[in-house]
């Protein structure tokens, strides 16, 4: 048996800026603030940082960040692709680099002014010919339209209803209402508000869609050995995985045998294989929620229920505190902030430190996932 990732590294620092529809500072400045805060949280000097990982969609780069924060010589830097599908992969890449001796102190970050900046789908000049030529001319323009197609089919195949999607939106909103940092902290959601909300792409309404946020987050990864000397209780990376299934097509995954199984299934198989835990051992989950239907799909993919049972799983308060699987306990992308899922990683760390604003009692294990419906990634964290 060669080197293993299992518990070899830990997240020892987290940092973030405020979240808002509009922040005055630049993405670079926000990135530096989040990273410096994360290093301070860890009690590690910026000059010790020798690894960076972020998203291919990240607009700030290692060169600018490293010289701004005062990093030392950097020996590992990587980027993970596919938008929010890369969130957990940033930590996974750092964990792999540190576990194999390529680096010792890694920083992962995401800084994005998606709240005040342009919506990516409005760009008509830069469009990828594959697969945009097969979808955009017909008015399938936005991620909400692309996922709406799968959502409609999912409802048809399994009898899922809008109430199931509402269960997801409500759980995230309820947790945001407990989290002063959340954009929706003071805005409760009711079923009536949900059912009468304007459509974005039927069958998806406004509340099925994530927020548009300006903000930045970062975390610090070191070896388990080093973690013991850090300021905070270590949160171990127990397992990590990326997932690009055979014959997958990205968010417009309409062209294979079974479009209602996606990257979550692939990532999950690898994740559980490398873990001492199974779905039944997970105390709390941070599941990527750009759109509410991604939750039932991911619940199936990661094995919390059977095929087609994801919608029913959400019934009876299962996703609330005290339920079968408390979900997105900071409010998630739907109600805390949408920063390509990085806030799900930091909230997973808070749960295992015992410092969440919606703390699951004695939480010791947390699943964090990245964007479903695109090539994805996932982390199993444990205290």
């Amino acid at each position: 048996m060669g080197a293993t990732l299992k518990d070899a590294t830990a997240i020892v620092g987290i940092g973030q800026t405020p979240f808002a529809k509009r922040l005055p500072e630049s993405e670079k400045r926000l990135a530096c603030r989040a990273i410096v805060a994360a290093l301070d949280d860890a009690g590690i000097a910026p000059s010790e940082v020798d690894a960076f990982a972020s998203y291919t969609m990240e607009e700030t780069d290692e060169v600018e960040i490293a010289k701004s924060i005062g990093a030392g010589d950097v020996t590992h830097f990587s980027k993970a692709g596919y938008g929010g599908g890369g969130s957990c992969a940033t930590v996974a890449h750092l964990a792999a680099a540190i576990a194999t001796g390529q680096a010792s102190v890694g920083v992962a970050w995401r800084s994005r002014k998606r709240g005040s900046g342009p919506r990516p789908w409005t760009n008509t000049r830069v469009q990828l010919p594959t697969p945009a030529q097969w979808t955009r001319p017909f008015g399938l323009l936005r991620p909400a339209d692309e996922i709406g197609m799968l959502a409609r089919r999912y409802m048809h195949e399994y009898g899922a209803t809008r109430d199931h999607f509402f269960n997801v939106a409500l759980a995230c909103r309820n947790r945001a209402n407990q989290n002063p940092a959340a954009m929706m902290y003071d805005r409760p959601l009711t079923r009536e508000m949900y059912m009468t909300a304007r459509w974005i792409s039927e069958p998806l309404c406004l509340f099925d869609n994530c927020l548009e946020t300006d903000g930045a987050l970062a975390c610090v990864v070191v070896s388990a050995e080093r973690a013991r000397d850090c300021r905070r209780r270590p949160v171990y990376v127990h397992a990590a995985a990326q997932g690009l299934p055979a014959q997958h097509h990205g968010m417009v995954n309409y062209w294979n045998d079974d479009p209602l199984t996606g990257p979550a299934w692939t990532a999950a198989r690898h994740l559980w294989k490398g873990a001492d835990l199974g779905p039944q051992d997970i105390d709390v989950a941070q599941i990527y929620d750009a759109f509410t239907p991604l939750i039932p799909l991911s619940l199936e993919g990661y094995g919390f229920c059977g095929r087609g049972e994801g919608a029913a799983f959400t019934e009876g308060g299962a996703l609330e505190i005290g339920g079968r699987l408390p979900l997105n306990t900071g409010g998630g992308g739907l109600s805390e902030a949408y920063v390509h899922g990085f806030n799900l990683i930091t909230e997973g760390v808070r749960q295992l430190r015992g410092t969440s604003t919606a703390q699951v009692p004695d939480a010791a294990t947390c699943l964090v996932t990245a964007g479903e419906g695109v090539p994805t990634s996932a982390l199993l964290l444990r205290s």
Binding site: Q127, Q133, W134, L140, R142, M149, E202, Q247
Partner: protein
């Protein structure tokens, strides 16, 4: 699209490309002065592998890239067959019949040309001959009708549809779909 590129050869048994209805490539410009509901819709931007699809569509033909060695159809088009790795392919003509696999009704915010017709429908059609080949398109009342020309109440997963062809104002022709039982 690149007009100089001619469709690649077809295998024996597929319909001759010379027997076709060229109405879509010779469609005269609209003569009335009403704004065209299709003006400023996004045009397909073909890649090398996809270009023949659009060239056939301009001739009113729906064709799918098919492996010439193992006969498996594949979509979207790509350089080699994922089943047998053959680089030899042809474009198999489809009947144009299929069923609605899913659909959405987009509402604003949208690009202006689409917002002007919203809510409209976007549908996915699974082809009768190859149900795993699913094409995104629009269900319309007639080939040149607006994207919102079908009452949304008529949309239903499983509804049989057939392909028609519409020349976009900017030039390329796209397949669209009408109900088999309007």
């Amino acid at each position: 699209m690149r007009a100089e590129r001619s469709p690649r050869g077809t295998t024996a048994g597929t319909e001759s490309m010379t027997v076709r209805d060229a109405m879509n490539t010779s469609l005269p410009p609209a003569t009335d002065t009403a704004p065209d509901p299709g003006a400023d819709l996004l045009l397909p931007v073909p890649d090398d592998d996809g270009a023949p699809f659009w060239e056939y569509a301009a001739r009113g033909e729906l064709r799918v890239q098919t492996c010439s060695d193992c006969d498996e159809p594949r979509f979207p088009p790509r350089p080699c067959c994922p089943h047998c790795q053959s680089f030899t392919a042809h474009w198999q003509r489809m009947s144009g019949r299929g069923r609605i696999w899913s659909y959405v009704l987009p509402h604003p915010p949208l690009l202006p040309a689409y917002a002007a017709q919203a809510p409209y429908n976007a549908i996915i059609v699974e082809l009768a001959e190859a149900p795993r080949i699913r094409l995104v398109g629009n269900l319309v009342a007639a080939p040149d009708a607006a994207l919102n020309s079908v009452d949304p109440a008529r949309l239903r997963i499983g509804a049989p549809v057939k392909a028609v062809f519409h020349a976009l104002p900017g030039g390329p022709t796209v397949p669209r779909w009408v109900l088999e039982r309007p």
